[in-house]
């Protein structure tokens, strides 16, 4: 706990550098990442990240220093060149974009590794700190780095706000943008440049290999919680910042743990959580909804079966055994038993000595389902001209979803028919 307070009070200048630096990186790259994600260009971030490595190495070889400004310029040049190449290859050959990205990524990265090995053999790699570019060096950020990061972050944010309307338009409907004369080439160039910039500063914290994750994952996570692009952007950068801090804190507690990978673990956890628990788009809420529907359908099917049996015996309130219901309709036994118990709780059935019978409310409900089923069959045969022996399956589903309003319209349209295509009587209340 003391550690926690000490860390987040940011008294220690080293901690301060790391935390602020990491937040700047993650928050600004997730803003840029939002557009990359929405334009379905997630892979592009990965390509840029890997392509900056040769630039960094070349800058070091040529300048002989590890001055971050030089390295950033080098990184920027090859990252950008790689994107231009991807674009060129896709436009001028039959190679598809994903293949072009893969091709570029491996060629640039391979070349970068070659240069890195060369530098290491020359004997000054660790001193230069170049190997940090592979996995990041967030824990070693210093004041000078912050100045550069801060400047880039402000630039990214400023340009994004300035071009927000156009970036959104291009991401949604680029052809329309083109027809109204929006300078899409120029704007795409700006977007590309922003992506490269975000990657270039980002890799210093998390490294080449994991960079794409902090570019795209925050946006992907945020998408689960909102339908508004502005909210999505803010939420994404909050997610990014939180995972940045979490990563920094974990590696502060356990210095053997590198910051970058922990940032990625944190953001991935947030994304995973969103994937499962988002109320509108999450897996869990979808499963719950499906389960509810399934329960309702089997309840209605049980009532319908009891109604059918009543119809046959001309006695709707006769007591019936589970076995006799199963004979009428092939339920799963647990499905049937649980359904009957739920129906009893809801007041649609009653039971005595494990014999079941409908209550008047239950009979009405079963009757309505039967009526909807038969009305729908009539509709299909009469209006959609589907053969009578093909309509049953369809009606089995529709009967559970017709609203009272549709029911009324159906009755009127068909003029209250008395029998369905199989000559069963349609019961009206």
């Amino acid at each position: 706990m003391n550690d926690f307070i000490y860390f987040f009070s940011l008294q220690d200048p080293n901690i301060r550098y790391v935390v602020i630096g990491v937040i700047l990186l993650t928050a600004s790259s997730s803003i840029v990442g939002t557009f990359a994600f929405l334009r379905k260009k997630s892979l592009v971030g990965d390509a840029v990240a890997h392509s900056v490595l040769p630039g960094v190495c070349l800058a070091f070889i040529i300048s002989g220093t590890k001055n971050p400004l030089w390295l950033i310029i080098g990184a920027f040049l090859t990252g950008w060149l790689s994107l231009v190449l991807i674009d060129y290859i896709t436009k001028n050959s039959k190679i598809k974009e994903d293949a072009a990205i893969g091709l570029n990524l491996s060629v640039f990265f391979g070349f970068g590794m070659l240069l890195l090995t060369y530098i290491q053999h020359a004997g000054n790699a660790s001193q230069s700190g170049l190997d940090h570019f592979l996995f990041g060096k967030a824990a070693a950020l210093v004041g000078d780095d912050l100045l550069v990061f801060g400047a880039v972050a402000i630039l990214l944010l400023g340009l994004t706000i300035l071009f927000f309307k156009e970036f959104t338009l291009i991401s949604f409907d680029i052809h329309f943008a083109q027809t109204i004369g929006v300078p899409i080439k120029f704007l795409q160039l700006v977007m590309t440049t922003l992506t490269v910039l975000a990657v270039v500063i980002g890799i210093q914290a998390v490294g080449v290999v994991l960079m794409a994750a902090i570019l795209i994952t925050p946006a992907a996570a945020a998408r689960f919680w909102t339908e508004n692009i502005k909210v999505m952007m803010v939420l994404g950068s909050v997610f990014g910042a939180i995972s940045g801090m979490a990563g920094a804190y974990i590696s502060y507690l356990a210095p053997a743990m590198p910051t970058g990978p922990w940032i990625v673990v944190s953001i991935s956890s947030i994304a995973l959580f969103s994937f499962f628990f988002s109320p509108s788009r999450g897996i869990l809420s979808r499963l719950l909804k499906q389960m509810k529907i399934k329960k309702r359908m089997s309840e209605e099917n049980i009532l319908k079966a009891l109604y059918h049996m009543g119809e046959k015996d001309k006695d709707f309130y006769k007591q019936r055994s589970v076995a006799s219901i199963l004979e009428k309709r092939g339920f799963q036994i647990p499905e049937l038993k649980q359904g009957l118990r739920r129906l009893k709780r809801q007041g649609f059935c009653s039971s005595e000595h494990s014999l079941w019978k409908l209550t008047p409310e239950g009979k009405n409900k079963g009757q309505r389902t039967v009526k909807l089923h038969r009305l729908w069959e009539v509709y299909l045969t009469k209006y959609v001209k589907i053969a009578a022996d093909h309509v049953h399956e369809d009606a089995e589903t529709i009967e559970h979803f017709l609203t009272p309003e549709l029911e009324q319209r159906l009755e009127k349209l068909l003029d209250y028919p008395t029998t369905d295509p199989h000559q069963s009587t349609i019961p009206y209340a």
Binding site: L38, K40, K94, L162, F163, K165, E166, T168, L169, S171, F172, D173, H175, F176, Q178, T179, I180, G181, V182, R223, T226, E227, N228, I229, V231, M232
Partner: protein
């Protein structure tokens, strides 16, 4: 047959467009008049969408040129509106109906500027015209196909253009809405706007359009509907699907086509 008009609104000269060197439009050459509701028909893959895209500068032409209002496209963009096929965008995008319609105002705003109150009113008005005003705040991912189509139409109306290109605006739209939209388009045409519509339902061609362009890689016919919507041209346009088509045309003949006289 190709009708030449004295003052063409649109002049397409010798247009050839190819994908991967395979021409999908071949030496297409025609002019279209102003203030008409113009249909483009042809089988799937005939190059209808390609023609519109080429006119709108979205795909390069191999040869030929396009003149609109007697000028090159760049000079007259403000007067032209394009409604793409609905499937051309991903509707699972985090934005609202009103925001999409407001995109129709961007060309008047220019870079950096936010939509003003007046733009919002125009957008709402356009939504009203397509019967979607109740949906203005709805997220676009929660629209049905026909509703998406109407949002695209509203965006085009918000552009307040002189010339409209619409690629299958009735796809997935219910009959009542289609009727309302056609009435809207006819009203626009009566105010001397020109509306060009890619259309698939041959039965309604006579009812909807004043002028017809029949396309199948090459231009088959171009002229007033009465003159070019004939069995002969239909067979030429639809080639392989002859049997089905002559059935449809037979049907239309039998129905005596009261719209023909109405015009």
């Amino acid at each position: 047959m190709v009708e030449k008009q004295p003052t063409p609104l649109i002049e397409i000269h010798d247009l050839t467009v190819a994908y991967d060197k395979k021409p999908v439009l071949w030496d297409v050459d025609f002019t279209l008049p102003e203030g008409k509701l113009i249909g483009i028909v042809g089988p799937n893959g005939a190059g209808k969408s390609t023609l519109i895209k080429a006119i709108m500068g979205l795909i390069p032409m191999q040869s030929g040129y396009v003149k609109l209002f007697g000028q090159g496209l760049d000079k007259v963009r403000d007067k032209i509106s394009y409604v793409p096929q609905r499937e051309s965008v991903d509707w699972d995008f985090p934005t609202s109906v009103l925001d999409v319609v407001l995109m129709g105002r961007y060309h008047k705003l220019g870079l950096f500027k936010r939509p003003r109150k007046a733009d919002k009113e125009i957008a709402m008005d356009s939504l009203r015209k397509v019967g979607m005003e109740a949906f203005s705040k709805r997220q676009i991912s929660k629209l049905s196909g026909g509703q998406q189509q109407r949002v695209f139409l509203a965006r085009a109306l918000a552009q307040q253009a002189e010339l409209y290109f619409m690629d299958e605006p009735f796809a997935g739209v219910d009959a009542a809405t289609e009727k309302a939209i056609v009435a809207l388009l006819k009203d626009m045409v009566s105010k001397n706007k020109t509306v060009i519509v890619v259309h698939h339902d041959l039965q309604s061609v006579r009812k909807y359009f004043d002028w017809l362009l029949m396309l199948n890689t090459r231009l088959v016919a171009n002229g007033p509907v009465d003159q070019v919507f004939t069995n002969e041209f239909l067979e030429e346009t639809y080639g392989g699907k002859l049997t089905l088509l002559s059935e449809v045309t037979e049907l239309m003949k039998k129905e005596e086509l009261p719209n023909r006289e109405k015009k």
